[in-house]
C-alpha cells in the first residue's frame, strides 16, 4: 500500500494519535484557565508592588503555556501527516480498484466474445451434421468430427458461464469495497476539515502565547515604573483571553475529530469487528467514571468484561491512559484530597497489573525511566501516581521507592539504559539533593540522562527548577509523561 514514500498508517493508529492530541489540547485549555486566574490575581495585587512575584509567576505560566502549544502544534502537524498518508494510501488503493474494475470489464467483453464464438461453433457444428446426413455414408467421418466440435462448443459454453459467474462476484466484491472506501473517504474529508480548523486554532494559540511572552517581558521592564504596570497587565489579560478563545474551540474540534477518527476506524473494519471501537469507547468512559468516583469494583468488572470480549490489550492500555488523563483534568480534580489520588492509584495499579503481562511483547518498550523519592524523602503519593501514568503510557518504569540515594538512581539508569531519572520530593530540604544528582551525571559524562522533578517545592517556587538544574518539572502526571516523551523523541531523533 506504500506509495510515493508515504508511511502506511492504520486507522487504529491514527485514532490513537488523535486521542493523544485531544489530551494535549485539554492541557492547553487548562493552562489557559490557570493563566487567567493568575493574571486576575496579578491585577488585584499590582498595587502591592510585588512585581518580582507577579512577573515570576507570569513567566512560569507563559512558559508552560508555550510548551503546551508547541506540543499541540507538533501533534496537529503529525495528525495532518498521518491523515495525508492515509489519504494517499486510500487513493492508491482506489486506483488499484479502478484498474481491477477495468480489467474485469475487459474480461467480461472477452467472455462475451467467447460466448459469441461458441454460438458460432455450435451453429457450424449443426450445419456440419446436416451436411453429413445429406452426404450419407460418405459423410460419416465428417459427422464424427462435427459431433466433437459440438461437444467442444458445449464445454466452451460451460466454461464461459463459470467465468461470467466468477467475474460477476469479483465485480460485486469490488463494488462493495469501493462503497466502503467511499464511506471512509467521507469520514476522511470531514476529519481533514476538522484538522484544518485545528491547525488554525493551534496557530492562534502559538501566536497568542508568543505575544504573551513578549508582554511578560514588557511587564518586567515596566516593573520599575509603576504607572504602566496596570496597562501592561491589562494587555496580558486581553491576550490571555485570546489564547483561551483559541484553546476552547481547539478542544471542542478535537473531540469531534477523535469521534470521526473512531468512526473511520470502525468503518475500515469488517462488519463483525466494528463493535470493537464502540466497546473501547465504552471501556474508556466506564474507567474514567470509576476513577472519578473512586469505584475500584467498577474498574475491575469493566476490565474483566473488556478482556473477555477480546478487546486488544494495547488499545485497553491506551484507553486506560486517556481515562486517567480525563479524570486528572476533570474540574475540581486538583482540589481532591490526596486519599482520592491514592484510591485512583490503586485502581490504576490493579488494571496495569492485569494488562502489563498481556501487552509487554506486543506494546514494546517506549523507553525506560528510573523513578525514586529524593534521599530522606518519605512522601510517596506523587511518585506512585507518576510511575503508574508512565507505565500506562508504555514506558518501562523502574521504581526505586522512597529515600533513594543519587548513586543508586544513576547506577540503575546506566544499567537499565534509562534516559530519564524522575525524582519526587515534597520537602525543600530533600529536594536539595537534586542538583547533586545533575552534577554527578555531568561528572560521569552522562548529561544526556535527563532529570525531571516533581513535588511541592517546585510548584510553589518555579525558580527552583533552574536553581537546581532540573531538566523539567512535572506539575501533573500528564506533564511527566510529556517530558519523558520529549526526551525519548529526541533520543529517536524525532524531537526538536
Amino acid at each position: 500500500m506504500s506509495k510515493g514514500g508515504n508511511e502506511h498508517i492504520a486507522p487504529a493508529d491514527l485514532a490513537r494519535r488523535l486521542h493523544r492530541h485531544f489530551s494535549l489540547a485539554e492541557d492547553a485549555a487548562t493552562s489557559c484557565r490557570a493563566l487567567l486566574s493568575v493574571v486576575e490575581e496579578a491585577l488585584e495585587t499590582a498595587r502591592a508592588g510585588g512585581f518580582a512575584a507577579v512577573t515570576d509567576t507570569l513567566n512560569r505560566v507563559a512558559r508552560e503555556l508555550t510548551d503546551h502549544v508547541e506540543e499541540i502544534v507538533a501533534g496537529v502537524t503529525s495528525s495532518g501527516r498521518a491523515m495525508a498518508a492515509f489519504s494517499a494510501a486510500i487513493a492508491s488503493f482506489e486506483e488499484e480498484v479502478s484498474r481491477l474494475e477495468e480489467q474485469g470489464r475487459a474480461v467480461q467483453t472477452n467472455v462475451q466474445q467467447i460466448a459469441g464464438i461458441s454460438d458460432q461453433v455450435k451453429l457450424l457444428a449443426l450445419n456440419a451434421r446436416i451436411e453429413a446426413a445429406r452426404a450419407g455414408a460418405a459423410g460419416a467421418g465428417f459427422a464424427v468430427v462435427a459431433e466433437e466440435v459440438n461437444k467442444l462448443a458445449g464445454h466452451s459454453e460451460e466454461v464461459t458461464k463459470a467465468i461470467t459467474e466468477h467475474m460477476n462476484s469479483v465485480t460485486e466484491a469490488l463494488e462493495r469495497a469501493s462503497h466502503r472506501f467511499d464511506d471512509n473517504r467521507a469520514a476522511l474529508e470531514e476529519t481533514e476539515g476538522a484538522l484544518n480548523v485545528l491547525e488554525t486554532a493551534a496557530t492562534g494559540i502559538a501566536a497568542g502565547s508568543q505575544k504573551l511572552g513578549e508582554v511578560v517581558g514588557d511587564v518586567e521592564r515596566l516593573a520599575g515604573s509603576q504607572g504602566h504596570l496596570q496597562e501592561a497587565l491589562e494587555q496580558i489579560q486581553f491576550h490571555t483571553g485570546a489564547v483561551q478563545q483559541s484553546a476552547v474551540p481547539l478542544v471542542r474540534e478535537l473531540e469531534t475529530t477523535v469521534r470521526q477518527a473512531d468512526d473511520m476506524w470502525a468503518a475500515s473494519l469488517p462488519p463483525e469487528r466494528r463493535h470493537t471501537v464502540r466497546d473501547l469507547s465504552q471501556f474508556e468512559a466506564r474507567m474514567a467514571q470509576a476513577l472519578g468516583r473512586d469505584e475500584p469494583h467498577v474498574a475491575k468488572e469493566t476490565l474483566a468484561a473488556a478482556l473477555a470480549a477480546d478487546l486488544p490489550p494495547p488499545d485497553l492500555l491506551a484507553r486506560l491512559a486517556t481515562a486517567g488523563a480525563k479524570a486528572f483534568r476533570a474540574e475540581g480534580y486538583d482540589e481532591r484530597p490526596a486519599i482520592a489520588h491514592f484510591r485512583n492509584a490503586r485502581i490504576f495499579e490493579a488494571a496495569l497489573d492485569e494488562l502489563e503481562p498481556l501487552i509487554r511483547e506486543e506494546h514494546g518498550n517506549r523507553g525506560t525511566v528510573v523513578m525514586g523519592n529524593a534521599w530522606e524523602d518519605y512522601h510517596d503519593l506523587g511518585r506512585r501516581v507518576i510511575c503508574i501514568t508512565l507505565r500506562a503510557a508504555g514506558y518501562r518504569v523502574i521504581d526505586l521507592g522512597l529515600s533513594v540515594r543519587n548513586e543508586q538512581l544513576i547506577e540503575t539508569a546506566l544499567r537499565e539504559d534509562a534516559r530519564v531519572i524522575g525524582v519526587s520530593s515534597l520537602l525543600l530540604t530533600t529536594a536539595k539533593y537534586i542538583p547533586r544528582l545533575k552534577e554527578a551525571l555531568v561528572r560521569r559524562g552522562r548529561d544526556d540522562i535527563k532529570v525531571i522533578v516533581g513535588g511541592a517545592p517546585f510548584l510553589v517556587d518555579p525558580r527552583l527548577r533552574d536553581k537546581f538544574g532540573a531538566d523539567g518539572v512535572g506539575r501533573t502526571p500528564q506533564d511527566a509523561v510529556r517530558l519523558v516523551e520529549n526526551v525519548y523523541a529526541r533520543v529517536r531523533g524525532e524531537g526538536p
Partner: protein, 343 residues
C-alpha cells in the same frame, strides 16, 4: 478594632491572650513561626543547632530581640516526636531534620508497638528544659508556644503516608489495626503535649497535616480523624491550637465544637470564610504563605499582612501558615511581617 474604644498598651502576652479570647487588643499580635532562625542568631549550623537543643532557648530569645514579635517557640522542630519511637533523624544544612527511619514496616508491628514515655528521651528532655527556661525568662510577658505532631498525623512519620492511608482506607487493614494504632498515638501525643504545658508553655500547637482536606476527604475526616482528635484534646491538660498544615476550610464546621483555643490556618483558607464556618469562639492564627516569603519583596509582605489585618475580625494572631518559615527566607521579609502589625 475600628469603632471601639482605644485599648491601653498591652504586653505581648496580654495581647495574645486577649486575641485568643477574641477580646479587643491594642494592636494585632504577630507571631512569625521562627524555628530554624535561632541557629543563624547563634552563628551555628543547623545540624549543630538541632543536634544540641540545649541552645534552643538562647536562639529564641535572640530572635525575640531582633524582631520584637509576641512569642517564642519552645520546640526545635516537631519531627523530634519520632525519636522516642526508636526512629532516627537526618540533619540538613538548610532545613529541619527529616525522619531517617520507618519503624512500622508491617501492619502486624502495630500490635507489638509499645508507647514510649516522651519525657524519658534525652532529646525531648532538652526540649522541655528549653520550655522551662523560656517560661522562666520571658513567660510573664511573651507567649511560650509548644508543638507536637497530632495523633492522626504521627503514624505517617512512623510508617509512611501511603501505608497509613491504605490502613485508614482499606477495611482489611482498618478493622484490625486502626483502633490499636490510634489509641497508641493518642496516648503518646497527649502525654507529650501535657508535658510541654507542665514545663511552662502557654499553649501547644498540634500539627495535623494528615487530617487536612489536602489529604483526606470529609468521610474519612468524620469517621477516622475527628474522633482521634477529640480523644487527644480530651486527654491533654492545657490549651491547644490545631494546625491543619494544609487546606482546612472544608472541615472547619466540623471542628467548631473541638475544644481548642485557636486554629493555625493556611493561605488557601480565607479568613472571612473560615471565621464564618468556625463561629466566633476560636482565634485564628495565620495565614501568610511561608513559602511565598522566599520570593516576596518586603513591600509585598507588608501589603499582604496589612490586608489580612484589615479583613480579619477580632481574634487574629498574624502569622504564617505552617509549618515554619524556611531557612532561606530573608530577614527583611520577616521584619516586614512584624512591621505590618506593629506600625
Amino acid at each position: 478594632m475600628r469603632g471601639h474604644e482605644p485599648v491601653a498598651a498591652m504586653t505581648s502576652l496580654e495581647r495574645v491572650l486577649a486575641a485568643l479570647d477574641l477580646k479587643p487588643v491594642d494592636r494585632t499580635p504577630v507571631l512569625p513561626v521562627l524555628l530554624m532562625q535561632g541557629a543563624k542568631e547563634l552563628g551555628m549550623s543547623l545540624p549543630d543547632y538541632f543536634t544540641r537543643p540545649t541552645r534552643l532557648a538562647e536562639g529564641q530569645l535572640r530572635l525575640l530581640d531582633r524582631f520584637g514579635h509576641d512569642g517564642v517557640f519552645a520546640f526545635p522542630h516537631v519531627v523530634q516526636d519520632v525519636l522516642p519511637w526508636d526512629s532516627a533523624l537526618d540533619f540538613h544544612e538548610d532545613g529541619p531534620p527529616s525522619v531517617g527511619k520507618m519503624v512500622i514496616r508491617r501492619y502486624e508491628d502495630i500490635l507489638d508497638l509499645e508507647v514510649p514515655d516522651p519525657t524519658s528521651h534525652p532529646y525531648l528532655r532538652h526540649t522541655l528544659d528549653a520550655a522551662s527556661e523560656l517560661a522562666r525568662r520571658v513567660g510573664d510577658e511573651k507567649l511560650v508556644v509548644g508543638g507536637v505532631i497530632g495523633p492522626f498525623s504521627l503514624p505517617t512519620m512512623l510508617m509512611g503516608t501511603r501505608k497509613f492511608l491504605d490502613l485508614v482506607d482499606l477495611p482489611e487493614f482498618r478493622n484490625e489495626y486502626f483502633q490499636p494504632l490510634m489509641q497508641k498515638m493518642v496516648d503518646f501525643t497527649a502525654r507529650w503535649a501535657t508535658a510541654q504545658i507542665e514545663a511552662g508553655c502557654h499553649i501547644v500547637v498540634f500539627a495535623e497535616g494528615i487530617s487536612s482536606a489536602t489529604i483526606i476527604d470529609e468521610a474519612t475526616f468524620l469517621g477516622a480523624a475527628k474522633p482521634t482528635l477529640e480523644q487527644f484534646v480530651a486527654k491533654t491538660r492545657g490549651a491547644l491550637a490545631l494546625e491543619f498544615v494544609g487546606h482546612g476550610l472544608p472541615f472547619m464546621r466540623h471542628v467548631r465544637d473541638l475544644d481548642v483555643a485557636a486554629l493555625l490556618i493556611a493561605e488557601t483558607d480565607p479568613m472571612d470564610e473560615t471565621r464564618a464556618l468556625l463561629g466566633p469562639a476560636k482565634a485564628l492564627i495565620g495565614n501568610i504563605n511561608n513559602l511565598k516569603l522566599l520570593r516576596w519583596e518586603p513591600e509585598r509582605v507588608q501589603f499582604e499582612a496589612r490586608r489580612l489585618i484589615a479583613e480579619a475580625g477580632p481574634g487574629l494572631i498574624l502569622s504564617n501558615q505552617g509549618p515554619d518559615i524556611p531557612w532561606e527566607v530573608p530577614y527583611p521579609a520577616i521584619e516586614a511581617m512584624v512591621l505590618a502589625a506593629t506600625t
